[in-house]
């Protein structure tokens, strides 16, 4: 079965589909034992079960098709810990011919939908019976979120909370565009969604939406770092304490975070009344206290106990120049940090601000809050500093030039899109739990998640990424969010080659309708003997490249680019010499089997990519790219690493061509997709024709069609991507063509002897050919 087909069923991509049974052998594979997991991958056949999952009383695994059943005594054996578990009464009818969906062998993935307030009234007997047991198990296993379930059952359904944090140093026109978008968002929000508004310049204003006499805002000083308690005290949210003291529980009604249904008028007014802060001292950047604004929004959400999932959406147009999280001085004489400054230590605020935001991450995670950053600015806004909380909470980061851009608009609309039932397509407050058989250990995860530091004997001490746990918290996740999990062989456990091992991914999340869902994926693979050909056969080079890319960028956070590249090269060489087919010392004899053949090429493009080579990017951009790579699935990651190039010509249908400068030709149109940019590049001849207006000439219908085809396809490419890529239409030799040229393999440069009439790229970078030559030479050295 093809890996991609397998993925469609499991939502998983394995770098190795067969695992060697010993740890040393596993290490020698160089590409770690890992799984790229897309927990909420959309699947047409996904069964949704309207009742609670049945858990193993020992390891917490969910009943799955791999369990051995004893119908007569109504017992099931947990496939992970082998514990005997009785079936509850609701499963009384179980039998060979009457299996619940989760036991169908074909359903490796099922989803449980329960505690859904909407369904509560008419829930089946089974689910209602299991309610109590469920909530107890919830309490034990999800202590960090246990408060939610309790609250939920008491309260009416409260929707997710959204706090808009708006930078009023933005120019008036920009602000106008932003306000329009926000108004639209508010209008479309479900009635039960909570909204809050924070605006900031040198001061932070938290808007009171429940005060009808006039517009009321609470002001925070932009320079002061405020604690959660202070924020709540300042906002008057300190009710619980009073209750404990036995005083009359003055539950002061707070008006800062209200359901849309209650405050639609007020929030609309408040948004409309946002105005650009006047007065910037000449020669200075506007005073922005982004950090404090985020703290205020965070404190507000914490205070309102709205940790049923919420978003802090920051809309800013420039760097913080004040208070915690400051990026640069307001004086224009000090310029904003570059990568060089970071390397040389010339960024006075960088480390302080980064660590400030890193301290924000756990708070976000504890309260299930997502932080989104929408930066619409020509300059940097300090996304590099802000990256940690955005990434770990799973929030969006978007860097565009203007709030008026369609990218921004589309992105925002996409985020707030609803399903048919009017629920937001947003999943909050999620956790992923992994249960495995005892012969392997969990090392960690890379992706937009936070380790919950829950340990059991399946957790390895060897941490990779977010490790030391079998459970991770995700502020939010989409159907495309992808995590890579790392495993190792459990040495203490004698593993028999040929035996199977299983892994179960339990993803609990809050659905857009605020109901809790649990998606359970159970998969099994086999252990194989060392050096077994099955190992190589099970190699998924695409998944491996994605995993390596994540590892590389994780390394790049702490190391300099050249060290990362060296590590990549080194790994690749050893990998090649392990899996290559060659005669010692004879580079020309080097061969790779087909499922390895593309891997070196991926590595070549990876080491040239903006993820590793930051030469042409600002720290903000780099942060953004890395953040995106770290959550994208295998397919998307590969596009980021090695963009695709399609050629459109009169000769036939579009064909993929080499990502090489030689692919450029005057009479073709190229469609280039690097995930972040989509470039439609017209060859000089085509461009000329177009300029002459031939495409409008009915006699040249085919030219018009040729011109249209890539545009249609480009639209198709970006339709599901968030943030929406930038589409660049350019002609050969135009300045915009640089987006394409920069990514092409420089097989022809100014130094080439034979240009063959091809375009050339001015660069000293080595071309793919040279790279491969070197690789072969080095790999065969042994």
């Amino acid at each position: 079965m093809d890996f991609i087909e397998l993925e469609a069923i499991e939502g998983l991509r394995w770098s190795w589909n067969s695992w060697p049974a010993s740890k040393s052998e596993a290490t020698a594979l160089l590409v770690p034992l890992s799984v790229m997991c897309t927990p909420l991958m959309q699947s047409t056949e996904l069964p949704i079960l309207p009742y609670d999952p049945l858990l193993c009383s020992q390891c917490g695994a969910v009943l799955n098709p791999y369990a051995r059943l004893d119908y007569t005594s109504r017992i099931w054996f947990c496939p992970f810990c082998y514990k005997k578990n009785p079936f509850p009464r609701s499963y009384s009818g179980i039998g060979e011919t009457n299996l619940p969906a989760e036991l169908f062998p074909t359903y490796s993935t099922v989803e449980y939908s329960f505690l859904n307030p909407k369904l509560n009234g008419m829930s089946s007997p089974s689910s209602s019976v299991s309610l109590t047991s469920m909530s107890m198990s919830m309490a034990s296993s999800f202590s960090s979120t246990s408060s939610l379930s309790g609250l939920d059952s008491l309260r009416k359904v409260v929707g997710p909370a959204f706090v808009f944090v708006v930078d009023t140093c933005t120019a008036e026109e920009e602000l106008g565009a932003l306000k329009n978008e926000l108004l639209l968002v508010v209008e479309q929000l479900p009635e039960n969604a909570l909204v809050g508004l924070v605006t900031f310049d040198s001061m932070v204003r938290v808007h009171d939406l429940g005060f009808s006499e006039c517009s009321r805002v609470v002001l925070f000083h932009g320079e002061r770092e405020i604690s959660s308690e202070q924020t709540q005290q300042f906002l008057g949210l300190t009710r619980t304490r009073q209750q404990y003291l036995g005083k009359t529980p003055v539950i002061q009604k707070q008006g800062f975070l209200l359901p849309v249904s209650e405050c639609e008028f007020n929030i609309t007014t408040a948004i409309e009344e946002i105005h650009s802060s006047p007065q910037v001292m000449p020669g200075h950047r506007p005073l922005r206290s982004t950090g404090t604004a985020i703290l205020a929004a965070l404190g507000l959400l914490e205070g309102c106990l709205a940790n049923t999932g919420s978003r802090i959406m920051v809309f800013t147009s420039g760097p913080a120049t004040l208070g915690p999280g400051i990026v640069v001085d307001s004086d224009f004489r000090s310029s904003i940090r570059t990568h060089r400054d970071l390397i040389n230590g010339h960024a006075p605020y960088y480390s302080k601000s980064s660590s400030f935001y890193k301290q924000v991450s756990p708070r976000l995670s504890d309260a299930s809050i997502v932080l989104d950053l929408f930066a619409c600015s020509l300059d940097q806004v300090g996304a590099a500093e802000l990256k940690d909380p955005v990434e770990r909470s799973g929030g969006f980061m978007m860097l565009v030039e203007s709030f008026e851009s369609s990218q921004f608009r589309k992105c925002l609309r996409h985020i707030f899109s609803c399903d048919e039932e009017g629920n937001l397509k947003m999943h909050f407050d999620a956790t992923i739990e992994i249960v495995t058989t005892k012969d392997l250990k969990i090392c960690g995860a890379l992706g937009p998640c936070v380790s919950l530091h829950k340990k059991n004997n399946l957790v390895s001490n060897n941490e990779i990424g977010e490790g030391g746990t079998y459970m991770w918290k995700l502020g939010t996740l989409t159907s495309k969010t992808c995590f890579s999990f790392f495993f190792q062989v459990n040495e203490e456990h004698k593993v028999q080659p040929g035996s199977a091992f299983s892994i179960q991914f339990i993803t609990r999340y809050r659905h857009g309708n605020m109901g809790i869902r649990k998606r359970v994926t159970t998969v099994a693979r086999r252990w194989v003997a060392n050096n077994s050909p099955e190992i190589a056969a099970g190699f998924d080079q695409e998944a491996a490249a994605s995993v390596m890319a994540r590892l590389a960028i994780q390394r790049a956070e702490d190391c300099q680019a050249r060290d990362v590249i060296r590590w990549l090269d080194d790994t690749l060489i050893r990998f090649a010499s392990k899996f290559g087919d060659y005669v010692q010392e004879d580079p020309s004899s080097f061969r790779l089997s087909s499922n390895f053949s593309l891997y070196p090429q991926f590595m070549y493009y990876l080491r040239r990519s903006q993820f590793i080579d930051v030469f042409n990017s600002s720290p903000d951009e780099t942060s953004f790219f890395r953040l995106m790579l770290n959550r994208e699935g295998v397919v998307g990651s590969l596009i980021m690493i090695q963009p695709t190039l399609l050629q459109y010509s009169f000769d036939g249908p579009p064909i993929p061509v080499l990502l090489d400068v030689r692919s450029i030709s005057p009479d073709v149109i190229l469609l280039f997709d690097s995930y972040f940019h989509v470039v439609i590049h017209c060859g000089s001849k085509i461009a000329q024709w177009r300029k002459l207006g031939y495409d409008k000439d009915p006699n040249h219908e085919n030219l018009r069609k040729l011109l249209e085809a890539p545009e249609v396809d480009a639209e198709q490419l970006i339709v599901d991507r968030v943030p929406v890529p930038k589409i660049i239409k350019c002609d050969q030799h135009s300045s915009q063509a640089r987006f394409l040229l920069a990514k092409l393999n420089p097989s022809v440069t100014q130094n080439s002897t034979y240009t063959d009439g091809s375009e050339i790229i001015f660069t000293d970078d080595l071309s793919l050919q040279v790279f491969i030559d070197h690789l072969q030479a080095l790999a065969v050295q042994g």
């Binding site: 040198s202 006039c214 805002v217 002001l219 000083h221 005290q233 007014t269």
Partner: protein, 1018 residues
């Protein structure tokens, strides 16, 4: 006797003799007017009876006349017996003395020390020839008059007796206010008339009038007013004497005979200098019109003594204080010339290059006007070329009369660039309103908003007027007034929640040009009370709010008006209810009671100093029904040149009107911003200390973020050298300030007074009102730091020591049995008693009330200070009975229960409160007319004065309005009735009564007398 006295006679002599030594006669013009008006003091000397004589018929002003009759009756007896109290004119000594002596007893108020003999100095001076009894005559005489019923048609008052005032009858001033001469001459005759009675006595005593010769100077001493040539010796007049007391015992003092203030009914015309001599000013509490002829108007600056003692020893001997009361922006009377503005252009006003004194009429130009000698430091400066002018034959510059700075005591210079550290600040008014639960529920917030709303219209017009507004409870709420974009103004409230470490929104948002936001402001003010209607926050962050508001106006400075209703309980400068704590620990409370009158901590003081530095002046309007710790709060207004207004217990019915009027006056009265003031003195004298509401950062200057017409600063002086007898000592107050319209000005007020080495001169020229105001302020500043008893003792001692000094060195009477009071200071005992019985010095008073009392006094002007402790009481039930054009304010009644009848209605006011006491048996018709009630029982607890359609009511309204005008205060009106706390409150003002808080007036006099005797003998 009279004959002896012949004033005329002595005169000449005196003139001859004294001329040099005692400049007096010439200097002082007897201003008939002033005399007339003034009650006792001044007039005495000068105008003695003589004046009247010329005009037999008219002579006596109503007042004067009145006194006689009553007195008459009593007197007779006296005659035979010595009057216990003899008010004696200094000079007269003989005469009065005689009298006094005859009577064994006791108190002689000798205006002038009669004892020439005793007191050598006097003798040496012109005095030797003691003054003729004449003056005395008058006073005493009148009193004694018995023999012959006064010629005059004395009306009623009994007081007359005591004071010489009657004498001044001349008040006639009408025509020629300033020329006294005529009168002076006559004296003899007149004296006769009046004096006659007296004289007779004298002979008996053997106190011969002869001394007459020496007489001339005496007048001077009184210096005050009218040194009529003849009368030089004024008389004892006011001496307290117990006419009726046949019995020697002090106890026999007739309460009707003791000195009491008698308001003058007529307006005095006063020229500040006459004949190149300083003219002693009329009493501060009288009605007068000033013509600035070189010295400043006494409204702006006056000295406790109108002659400056040459040595520190002399001053010490006198027991008096030497201090200036400066009220630089005082409001002149409408008929006075306004202060002229002089613009010297870019070069700025001419100043002495050494001491930086400003050019004034007393700078002496020499050397053809090319140089001038500074009257402060004595340095000879070059006249700036463009300012040069030749001298006339009289040694004055020829242009002296055209240049205000050379002929006026008060001028205002346009400040040039060098006087500005920045552009003159705009007029910024920031209103800060308490909206905590209490404030809302008592209606204080609504009252404040309403008042502000009305006052907005009164703020100065123009683009330079900026306003801001904020409210606070446990947080601070600013309002963005700028948002003009919406069609419908929706105020934006900006809440600052951090009251420990405050901050403010952008100043541009919250402090806005009035012209831009007038409607917004009005709308906002209307909605604030409803906006917080449901507020359940009881806490109040006064300190933090004040600080936040300050920060919002920091860049410009301005006036911050705070409306506070409860004890600040949270945030910076939070206070505790220490009054209650004090009560629970009574043992500690007794000893440390005064500590409650001190600020609780230094936070607010530190804040206040910062405010002052940035030219923010804070006024606090306290509208409360509980303890708010004024002692601590008041630090802010005191340091920043503001003031405390106190509405306790706040009533939503009766107080809003006063609040509005107070606020209105606060913003509309003449005032200045970012001011700096310094007083310079001639060599030999230097400023010891400034006291008032200001901030002092360097020793020589006071910083006044705000200064207005009501604020008075006391400047105590000390000698650092001897002064030359016969020279003049000058004082100059320079106030650099910014007007509300943004002009930078320097108001320069110069006062030049003669120096004297004669003690009796000091007594004669003592300025009672000023001295007493000075006492008050000292007492007020001492109370928080010493036990109450000590303060009371000290105040009594101050009084005793002055009288002792006079008795010892100036009075002629040898008998120790008499209490002799200097004419000028004869009311000192009464005032001292009033002070001792005042709220500030009562242990049982509420702490806040006492703190307010203390703070109110710190900046109060003289004319308001006196009534504040010695209130005015008038009867209003019979307003109708007198027809005709009598003055609006009916005759004053002494503050004694015996004058309060159950059938009457009395109005008592002290410039702040106004109590209307309704007797039990008042005619219900009157009640109906005045208050629209039919019986005393219906008296409303909260009273609003209304005008009903009847003449009585109209008269009452007119009266109250007149008082309001006089006091520049709206007054808190309250109805009182017997047997009710309100009645108790009313009676607590009956100073002359014996009460739990102190002696009766008579007893006090006896007490003082004993003290003097004790000290004399020791």
């Amino acid at each position: 006797m009279a004959s002896h006295v012949p004033p005329g006679a002595p005169r000449p002599a005196s003139k001859a003799n004294n001329p040099p030594s005692s400049q007096p006669p010439t200097n002082f013009r007897a201003n008939p007017d002033s005399l007339a008006d003034n009650l006792h003091n001044l007039n005495f000397n000068s105008a003695p009876p003589r004046a009247p004589s010329p005009l037999p018929g008219t002579p006596f002003s109503r007042q004067a006349t009145q006194p006689l009759p009553p007195s008459v009756s009593p007197f007779p007896p006296t005659f035979s017996h010595p009057a216990p109290f003899a008010s004696r004119p200094p000079l007269v000594s003989s005469a009065s003395g005689g009298l006094a002596s005859t009577g064994q007893p006791v108190f002689a108020s000798g205006a002038l020390p009669g004892g020439q003999q005793r007191f050598p100095p006097l003798g040496s001076a012109p005095q030797p020839p003691v003054r003729p009894p004449p003056t005395m005559a008058m006073a005493t005489a009148t009193a004694r008059a018995h023999p012959q019923p006064q010629p005059q048609p004395p009306t009623t008052t009994s007081r007359p007796l005591i004071r010489s005032s009657p004498i001044r009858t001349p008040p006639v001033q009408p025509a020629s206010p300033f020329s006294v001469a005529p009168q002076a001459r006559q004296p003899p005759t007149t004296a006769y008339t009046y004096g006659q009675p007296t004289w007779p006595l004298q002979p008996g005593q053997g106190a011969p009038p002869p001394p007459i010769t020496g007489s001339p100077q005496p007048p001077r001493m009184y210096g005050m007013p009218p040194p009529l040539p003849n009368q030089s010796m004024t008389s004892v007049s006011p001496a307290v004497r117990q006419t009726g007391a046949p019995v020697p015992g002090a106890s026999k003092i007739d309460p009707n005979q003791i000195p009491r203030p008698i308001p003058g009914s007529s307006v005095i015309l006063h020229e500040t200098r006459q004949g190149n001599q300083a003219n002693p000013p009329p009493p501060a509490t009288s009605d007068y019109i000033v013509r600035d002829t070189g010295n400043c108007s006494p409204r702006y600056m006056r000295c406790t003594i109108n002659q400056i003692p040459c040595t520190a020893d002399l001053l010490t001997t006198s027991g008096m204080q030497l201090a200036l009361m400066v009220q630089p922006l005082a409001i002149p009377c409408p008929s006075e010339e306004t202060v002229q503005v002089v613009d010297f252009g870019e070069s700025g006003p001419v100043r002495c290059s050494r001491c930086k004194g400003y050019i004034n009429p007393f700078m002496k130009f020499i050397d053809q006007g090319r140089r001038f000698i500074c009257n402060f430091c004595g340095f000879t400066d070059e006249t700036p070329r463009e300012y040069h002018c030749n001298l006339g034959p009289d040694g004055r510059r020829r242009d002296a009369d055209e240049r205000p700075e050379l002929c006026r005591g008060t001028v205002e210079f346009v400040a040039s660039r060098e006087y500005m550290v920045r552009d003159p600040m705009p007029a910024v008014y920031f209103f800060l309103i308490d909206v905590s639960m209490n404030a809302i529920q008592t209606g204080a917030t609504a009252a404040a908003c309403g008042a502000i709303n009305q006052v907005i219209a009164d703020l100065p017009e123009g683009p330079r007027t900026m306003v801001g507004i904020a409210t606070f409870d446990s947080t601070i709420h600013f309002y963005n007034l700028k948002r003009a974009l919406q069609q419908v103004y929706n105020p934006l409230m900006l809440v600052v929640p951090d009251v420990q470490d405050v901050y403010t929104p952008l100043q541009t948002d919250v402090v806005v040009q009035l012209s831009e936001c007038r409607q917004h402001l009005e709308l906002l003010l209307e909605s604030i009370p409803t906006m917080f209607l449901e507020n359940r926050t009881a806490e109040s962050a006064f300190g933090a709010a004040t600080k936040a508001a300050f920060m919002a106006m920091k860049s410009t400075g301005g006036r911050l008006l705070v409306f506070q209703s409860v004890l600040p309980s949270i945030g910076i400068g939070a206070l505790s209810a220490r009054e209650a704590e004090g009560r629970t620990h009574i043992s500690a409370g007794e000893k440390e009671a005064h500590k409650l009158l001190q600020p609780a901590d230094k936070t607010l003081k530190a804040m206040a100093i910062e405010f002052a530095e940035y030219q923010v002046c804070v006024d606090v309007f306290i509208t409360t029904q509980t303890y708010v710790d004024i002692a601590s709060i008041a630090v802010i207004p005191r340091t920043t040149g503001g003031q405390v207004y106190y509405y306790y217990p706040f009533s939503a019915v009766s107080d809003p009107a006063k609040l509005y009027n107070d606020l209105r006056w606060n913003v509309t009265r003449p005032q200045g911003f970012e001011a700096v003031m310094r007083v310079r003195c001639s060599q030999g004298i230097q400023v010891l200390e400034y006291e008032g509401n200001f901030c002092k950062r360097i020793p020589t200057d006071v910083d006044l973020p705000g200064i207005d017409c009501d604020k008075t600063i006391m400047v105590t002086l000390k000698h650092d050298d001897k002064l030359k007898d016969g020279s003049e000592c000058a004082f100059q107050c320079a106030l650099l300030y910014t007007t509300v319209y943004g002009q930078r000005r320097i108001r320069v007020t110069t006062l030049s007074l003669p120096c004297t080495s004669i003690l009796s001169n000091l007594f004669r020229s003592a300025d009672l009102d000023t001295q007493f105001a000075c006492f008050l302020k000292q007492a007020a500043s001492e109370i928080p730091f010493s036990p109450l008893l000590l303060v009371k003792d000290r105040m009594t001692n101050l009084c005793v020591n002055i009288l002792l000094s006079y008795r010892k060195f100036c009075a002629t009477v040898t008998s120790s049995g008499q209490l002799i009071l200097p004419e000028a200071l004869k009311l000192l005992p009464l005032y001292t008693l009033a002070l001792i019985k005042s709220k500030g010095l009562q242990t049982d008073g509420r702490i806040d009330e006492r703190s307010f009392w203390i703070n109110y006094l710190s900046s109060i002007s003289i004319p308001l200070a006196i009534p504040f402790v010695h209130p005015r009481m008038v009867a209003i039930h019979d307003l109708n009975s007198k027809e005709g054009d009598q003055p609006l304010v009916p005759p004053v009644i002494s503050l004694s229960t015996e004058h309060v009848n159950d059938g009457g209605i009395y109005l008592l006011e002290n410039g702040v409160d106004c109590l209307i006491y309704i007797g039990n048996l008042v005619d219900s018709d009157i009640l109906r007319q005045l208050f629209c009630i039919s019986s005393v029982d219906e008296i409303p607890a909260q009273f609003v004065l209304q005008q009903y359609d009847n003449p009585l009511s109209k008269k009452l309204n007119d009266l109250v309005n007149e008082i309001r005008r006089q006091r520049c205060s709206y007054l808190r009106l309250k109805l009182c009735k017997k047997g009710d706390p309100s009645g108790m409150q009313f009676f607590s003002y009956m100073i002359e009564d014996k009460s739990s808080s102190g002696l009766s007036y008579v007893e006090f006099l006896v007490h003082v007398h004993r003290q003097i005797q004790l000290k004399m003998s020791s």
